[in-house]
Subunit: 693 residues, 2 copies
């Protein structure tokens, strides 16, 4: 059958419509579930309004930032208006704005459902694991479907409207600017609240983790939502859009429409596979929630591989080799997730060794956690390296340019099941909130036990999805490097200059770029971590002030409430204040290196950034997860259990790990994508002017 592009577009839109319809149905299904406890309902309302307050503030600042960026894009990109084609500048600006808006809407929807599902899941936990699990999972699935639906909708519409794949990079840049705010800003917010709540509540006053007397407790629960639901959603929206955009830029350079059709077809089938996987997710009455989540992922993977094989068999011109590249990408993604699990699961030796090291003191918790975190990066780096090499070699025989297209399709393949991945990931904060609500609402020990089991499954699965997200980002940015080279050559061709064939590391401007690019993720992470640190200090001061000045609060006197909003305010303002310099440093470094060393230096800069970015992201996410689970392992009675010296040391590890795994580690992905897209969009400017280029 002839794969007409119009037919494939129709299939894509059809998949999007199904996804949206299903998401709406799931949303109302969640809404139909009842929450039977007024206190929980009230606290959940506080969380919801706190999350909305953060989102409003964040989107307001983002709107200013995006507005400024839009003006700069309009005037300068891809070529300055006084030189080039103003229509193209307008088109890129429009798609940039569309990228930010669609991602923002998806994030908003995710928060909406997640903050409704938390109280209902807590309430349902009184009846057992089955209904509580389903509410958590289906609440998360709304976010998953919204993200993938909006990304496919956006990419297809931009391409259909403007018929120019370069314009897509503007859309993708919009998505990643939003992701930078959502992921890094949300990450600073959530860890500010978490660290200060623990430090003042658990450590100083000795009150339980989710005690409603603590002024930071609502901010802490809000943080789970804005960091893990909205942040992770924006991150994967960004990766998914970037992967598709890079594949489409490279496909368009190949000059055969069938390749463009293939990208959309595979993306649409990935969405359909996720829908089936979500619909099929079930758990028995006494089932294991971790197994339920993981098996839905495997089911989705299997369905995707089968569906794309069928499409490849049916449509003329769909190459089996490209199918192979996509399949390799997906399978390696799953394998990376599994190796991440090995390093962060408390039934496996590594977590237990770190817990054991804790009995010699916190220095050994830190040293062993850092060491295993470093080692854990190796399998994932090998996985990314092997999948890129395999995809390249599989597709190379198809002709010049196809090898790079193969890598980009491996990234598309890896991200195809992203709907399922986000569902699993957003499940985590919902049941984490539910656990807190069950405690704050006094639902009794058995209910808290059920909620605990659901929460623990969320933590385990989160490690897997994080590994997956970093792996996918790894392949995506490699194809973005390919897209960057396409853009550079387009610009050079227009300027009548000689094209480049690649970026030779023996070229000193490339090498110059590599060394500086390599330092950026380290500095970026450091700025975010120091930001959490400073922000937490401000919040700790506020919490202490409330306990001192609000009479009866410490004693838990009836009717006395802390000022939750003040803490939410501090977390919100601080997060955005600390994030902006880190973002500007990153973009500023790209611009400076570009104007010093030109397009070659930027090629090197991107490479250096990708390489150390991946290494640090894997290291930080995994060691953070490792410390978190080591602490839980000790708390469940090992190495002396709660209150022992080992426990104190493990808590130090967990506190260090918090900003590692929830702020810096996962933000590096976005930092890399932002830099890659800035580079692509500015390539014509760098080609036209640079000091040594």
């Amino acid at each position: 059958m002839e794969p007409k592009l119009s037919l494939i577009y129709a299939v894509s839109y059809f998949a999007v419509v199904i996804a949206f319809a299903f998401a709406v149905w799931l949303h109302f299904w969640v809404k139909r579930q009842k929450c039977t406890n007024a206190k929980i309902e009230e606290i959940s309302g506080l969380i919801k309004s706190g999350a909305n307050a953060f989102m409003r503030k964040e989107y307001k600042i983002l709107a200013i930032f995006a507005g400024i960026a839009a003006v700069i894009i309009l005037v300068l990109l891809p070529t300055p208006v006084w030189k080039g084609d103003i229509i193209r500048n307008v088109e890129i600006t429009v798609s940039y704005i569309a990228g930010t808006v669609l991602s923002a809407i998806a994030g908003k929807i995710g928060i909406l459902v997640a903050t409704s599902a938390n109280s209902r899941s807590a309430s349902a936990a009184q009846e057992g694991i089955k209904p509580a699990f389903l509410i958590g999972f289906r609440g998360g699935a709304v976010m998953g479907l919204a993200v993938v639906g909006f990304s496919l909708l956006g990419v297809a519409s931009v391409l259909l409207l403007f018929k120019d794949s370069t314009i897509l990079l503007g859309f993708s840049f919009g998505a990643s600017s939003l992701a930078l705010f959502a992921k890094a800003g949300g990450g600073i917010f959530t860890k500010t609240a978490d660290v200060s709540a623990d430090l003042t509540g658990k450590v100083e006053l000795g009150i339980p983790e989710d005690d409603p007397r603590n002024p930071a407790v609502i901010a802490d629960n809000v943080g789970d939502n804005v960091g893990d639901v909205a942040g992770m959603g924006a991150d994967l929206f960004d990766s998914n859009v970037a992967a598709m955009s890079a594949a489409l830029v490279i496909a368009s350079a190949l000059g055969n429409e069938v390749n463009t059709a293939m990208v959309f077809c595979y993306a649409a089938l990935g969405l359909i596979a996720s829908i089936i996987g979500i619909a099929a997710a079930r758990i028995g009455k006494h089932g294991n929630p971790t197994r339920a989540l993981n098996s839905s992922t495997y089911v989705t993977t299997g369905i995707y591989i089968a569906l794309t094989a069928a499409a490849t068999a049916i449509f003329k011109g769909f190459e089996w080799r490209i199918w192979g590249a996509a399949a390799v990408g997906l399978i390696v993604g799953v394998i990376i997730g599994i190796t991440t699990d090995y390093f962060t699961d408390d039934t496996k030796p590594i977590v237990q060794r770190v817990a054991h090291a804790s009995s010699s003191g916190s220095a050994f918790t830190i040293l062993s956690g850092i060491s295993y975190g470093f080692i854990s990066a190796l399998p994932a780096m090998i996985g990314i390296a092997v999948s890129a090499l395999a995809a390249y070699k599989i597709c190379e025989p198809l002709g010049p340019g196809y090898a790079m297209f193969g890598i980009s399709m491996a990234a598309v393949g890896m991200l195809s099941i992203v709907g399922m991945i986000i569902s699993n990931d957003a499940y985590g904060p919902i049941v984490d909130n539910a656990r807190g609500l069950a405690e704050m609402g006094g639902l009794g020990e058995e209910t808290i036990r059920v909620a605990d089991e659901l929460d623990s499954a969320g933590n385990t699965v989160k490690a897997v999805t994080k590994g997956f997200a970093i792996g996918a980002a790894g392949l995506t940015v490699i194809s973005l490097l390919g897209a960057y080279m396409s853009e550079v050559n387009e610009a050079l061709a227009k300027a009548g200059k000689a094209l480049i064939t690649g970026f030779d590391v023996m070229n000193p401007t490339v090498f110059f770029g590599i060394l500086i690019g390599a330092a950026i993720p380290a500095v970026f992470s450091a700025m975010l971590i120091l930001g959490v640190d400073r922000n937490a200090q401000r919040m700790v001061a506020e919490i202490r002030r409330q306990f001192k000045t609000i009479i009866g609060l410490k004693e838990g006197k009836e009717g006395v409430k802390p000022d939750y909003n003040k803490c939410i305010d501090i977390a919100t303002h601080g997060a955005l204040r600390e994030l902006v310099p880190a973002g500007l440093m990153t973009i500023g470094a790209t611009v400076i290196v570009g104007f010093i060393g030109g397009v070659s230096a930027i090629g090197g800069f991107l490479l250096g950034n990708i390489v150390t970015g991946l290494l640090l992201a894997l290291f930080m996410s995994n060691s953070g997860g490792l410390w978190d689970n080591s602490k839980k392992y000790v708390e469940s009675g090992n190495e002396g259990g709660k209150g022992s010296e080992a426990h104190k040391a493990a808590v130090v590890g967990d506190t260090v790990g918090d900003p590692f795994k929830d702020t810096a580690g996962p933000s590096i992905n976005t930092q890399i994508t932002v830099v890659s897209l800035v580079a692509s969009l500015m390539s014509a400017l760098f080609a036209a002017f640079s000091l040594f280029g």
Copy 2:
């Protein structure tokens, strides 16, 4: 004047002879100083015999390793004997062995003098800072002169004898295999002893740091010598030889003898500048030892720049542009040292901020130390990037190939004052030992204060020299990458294959190599840190056993002595046992990647290794130094002083920092050099056979 090569060789040998004569004079000068305290003399004897025991054991294992390596080289490198020219294999093998032997002799001499100077410096501290400083400094200078003398002697002789610059890479590989053992093995030894002595003595029993009752106290002092004197010396011997070898390989490819002459001439002048700098080092009666050490470095730098300018003016064919490259390298090296100082000096804000963060608990000590460690890497990375780019651009107009020669000469320039650098560095452990001896010998408070001041200067200067060493290694390995490409092309030309022009990051085999190469320094560091951890556990068990079973030891009963040798044994065996897997992993990864991806993958592998290696080395060395000095800052009465919560947290930071700064961080240099040289030596094999190459 015509720069005849024979004349330049004569100058080089003359400089070597002067250096050796001066070293011998300094040695006897140190010996002539008297140690007036029998107890100190006795303990110093224990340290000396412990250091000798370690060196014997280390050299024995090294001899086995080197023997196996020599056989492999003889049979396989540069081409298998059944294919190639057996004479060349014999030549490489001989120079490999010469490289290990000369480096070993230099290390041995350094230990010999350092372990004589420590007691004499302690004794002289009773008379004031001036004589004690001079003994420490001159003792260290013997090592500095020996290292530089032997490296120049070795390189000149190998080239004179075999007239083939490729053979030099064998000599350089010998130097780096020894450095790997000396630096990483010594690093594990010293931190094993340090951590266990602190943990059992200071923390568990509450006895002072250098208390002779502690069975690990001698091992701790031995560790300073084997780690910092022998290890650092071997490291810089390795870098110095590698820098000269790379420059000579590239010079030989240029085909003009004058360039070879220039390399030797500059190296010889560097040695002469160091001799003058050492001879001129002085301190006033109440002088500041830090200033004295730093000003000798600046004096040496100035003399070197002046001498090389004069040589360039005198000799026909010595290009001013190349002089410029060497000068740029040296100046940037000094600047990197100064920025390192900014991050690790306790009179500057960073150390004070980390000390302040410690008052919120050890998690914040760790988080802020890691963050500033990451940030501290940026200026050095920019420095290396800028100096490489500048050297390249300065020398590019001289003709094809000269740009890379410029980079290699920047490395030679940076390393020219290495004699002075080692003198400053070896001064550190001598006065550190002296401080311990003053305490153990009961020389009184005023003497201990003098010794403390000398020791503190050693710590400050060490941060500078470490930054310098890493910077120098950075430029050296870039030129080794150039040397690797020369070797590859030589092999390809012989095989009648097409030459390569570089390593394009868009080539998937290069990219494959980059990703895996980038993970290796992280895994290597992790293995060393875990090695320290495991080894310290064994030693802690032994110390506890001794305190339990040796009656009267804990109480300090007259005549009861701990079994110091047992602890030295454990540290020695453990260090070598933990080091070997890390070394084999590194070399194994290189070989595997080479046979999978061929010469291009190895080009990428080296690049990835260099980039993350530099980043991690800078991060670990600097954050380790930062934590060490933060602890000292708190101990001197800030943030609550000794015994406060901030102090406890700062101690955790220091313990984490110990293996960072003295084991893993500085060993990464050597790891990079070893990998680069293995790659160069095996290039013909990789060119002949690989899976995807």
